[in-house]
Symmetry: C2
Subunit: 315 residues, 2 copies
């Protein structure tokens, strides 16, 4: 009998996490406070799981096995019954998280991990007064986590480090790529890496340096290629004959110069957005945006397949 994990909230993130945990070998219960949402999630999950099976992205399991271990339940009590990990995927509202974590903390034994998929509200905002606050933390995915493996673990100051470490190991064993933040910080790490790129992309267009399409191309056909499999610090380590120290010494002056030119932000509004929107909508009318999103998701899945192959075959 597999261990059990409970999803509280069965929208996009709840469904995606259900797949990750079931693919990782767990029994998964799905609960949603809105009647019918958890039940209706099952056929949608099945469709995604079959796509993943076709791509070879189920860790060697069958679609039937993965969907067979996911069940919808009608109450929160049933969902968490016997669960070792509870993943809350509710709307990003503090009152909702306060209410849910208050209930979950009462329902679950003290050794059950209570994780929130929150992307911006930190755990210290809604767990401080809980008796079991030591087992509460953020486990923040990037959508969809069954294709993009990163998960950001963000404990509150009172979260037990051993619980964080055990959760990290559990997620790693499932084939995810967990990282641990030692402090609560605005935007966690991924948004903090993305944010200055966005500011600079808007700035370059606002200053007339290049078109939005060319700024995008500098990323998609250029600087991102190596980042798709090694991070920025290792990129530096490999870009100087004697590693990261030499890289830092050699390139800090230029990078300080660039930073001095990147301190002022441009507003993401007005004529700048008019101009970008006009160009983007000329290329992709609004009614084709959904098709392009599906294309993006297929590309992400194909990239995951490629990376799995490359991890196994290029040493």
């Amino acid at each position: 009998m597999s261990e059990r994990v409970a999803m509280i909230g069965s929208g996009i993130i709840g469904r995606a996490f259900a797949i990750c945990f079931s693919r990782g070998g767990y029994e998964v219960t799905l609960y949603d406070p809105v009647d019918g949402v958890a039940r209706d999630a099952l056929p949608r999950i099945k469709e995604t799981v079959e796509d993943l099976e076709n791509e070879g992205l189920l860790n060697g399991r069958s679609a039937a096995d993965v969907t067979g271990r996911i069940q919808a339940v009608g109450t929160m009590e049933e969902a968490v019954e016997g669960a070792i990990h509870v993943q809350e995927n509710a709307p990003e509202r503090l009152d909702v998280k306060l209410d849910l974590f208050g209930k979950l903390d009462k329902l679950c034994r003290p050794d059950v991990v209570l994780a929130s998929s929150s992307s911006s509200i930190v755990a210290s905002k809604f767990t401080e007064d809980l008796e079991g606050r030591h087992r509460c933390m953020i486990v923040h995915p990037t959508n969809p986590p069954y294709v993009v493996p990163i998960l950001e673990l963000v404990p509150a100051p009172w979260t037990d480090k051993a619980v964080v470490q055990k959760t990290r190991e559990r997620l790693e064993a499932m084939g995810q790529a967990p990282i641990t933040l030692n402090k609560e910080i605005t935007g966690f790490i991924m948004n903090r890496l993305q944010s200055p790129i966005l500011h600079e992309a808007f700035r370059l267009v606002a200053q007339g340096v290049a078109t939005p399409e060319d700024v995008d191309r500098a990323m998609s056909e250029g600087i991102s290629q190596r980042w798709s499999f090694i991070g920025p610090l290792e990129v530096g380590d490999l870009n100087a004959p004697n590693g990261i120290r030499e890289y830092a010494e050699r390139y800090e002056p230029m990078n300080r110069g660039i930073a001095a030119e990147q301190r002022d932000l441009v507003p993401w509004a007005g004529p700048l957005i008019d101009y970008i929107e006009e160009r983007f909508r000329a290329r992709l009318p609004l009614d084709q945006l959904k098709d392009r999103q599906r294309w993006r998701d297929r590309r992400l899945m194909a990239l995951a397949v490629h990376k799995q192959w490359a991890n196994e075959n290029i040493k």
Copy 2:
């Protein structure tokens, strides 16, 4: 008879560009002021071209065809004889560029494009006094350009826009991904996208938020996945139901908050670098750095193969 392109300087970048232009259908002459360097480049080029043939990355051409159109010559005069495009790949020193462009401008008819691979010295610094300054510009690659297709075209204020456009079309037709900068700017675009990521990566480690390995992982298993095929502005366009305007309205407040926390730079020196270097060298001793660089290059090539496949098969 194919048109001819001349490489002035036959080091790493000159060899790589020779492959790009020959794969694009041009005759290529290789010149280097150091005796023997151009000649010795040929067997190294052959080895790389054969690797590219094995991977299917020669635009359907054979290795014999591509290497057969590259020849080493003994003088700059022979190199530029009949060339329509000259690519200078000399060391990043202003005196060297001034000297070379002075000579090239005298040697080449006014309709020949004179391009520099310079990564930081802008063309206005070494072309202002030339009679043919209208046809001079930067064409800056990322190494290696036969695998990472981006090329940054950076004209001087006096460069003829029609020459820039024609050069862009020529490079695009070869299978590269040229972008055009309308202004000379520190670091061009790719380094300006990379720079704030590096500052933030060092900052996160210095502040004790996460280990260098986890910061890297946030990129390599997370935020970079979509960037590997779409740029940051289109990512935004696809991440709100009504596109980039809605995305900008929704996410500017959070991103302003993050920017406020990213204004102070941490020095890329001292205990921070000691700590990162110690961890990196424990994982990868210095004498294995070259092996890891070769692994990175094989991964980049495999990614290029994957993207070629995905561009053709995922619509």
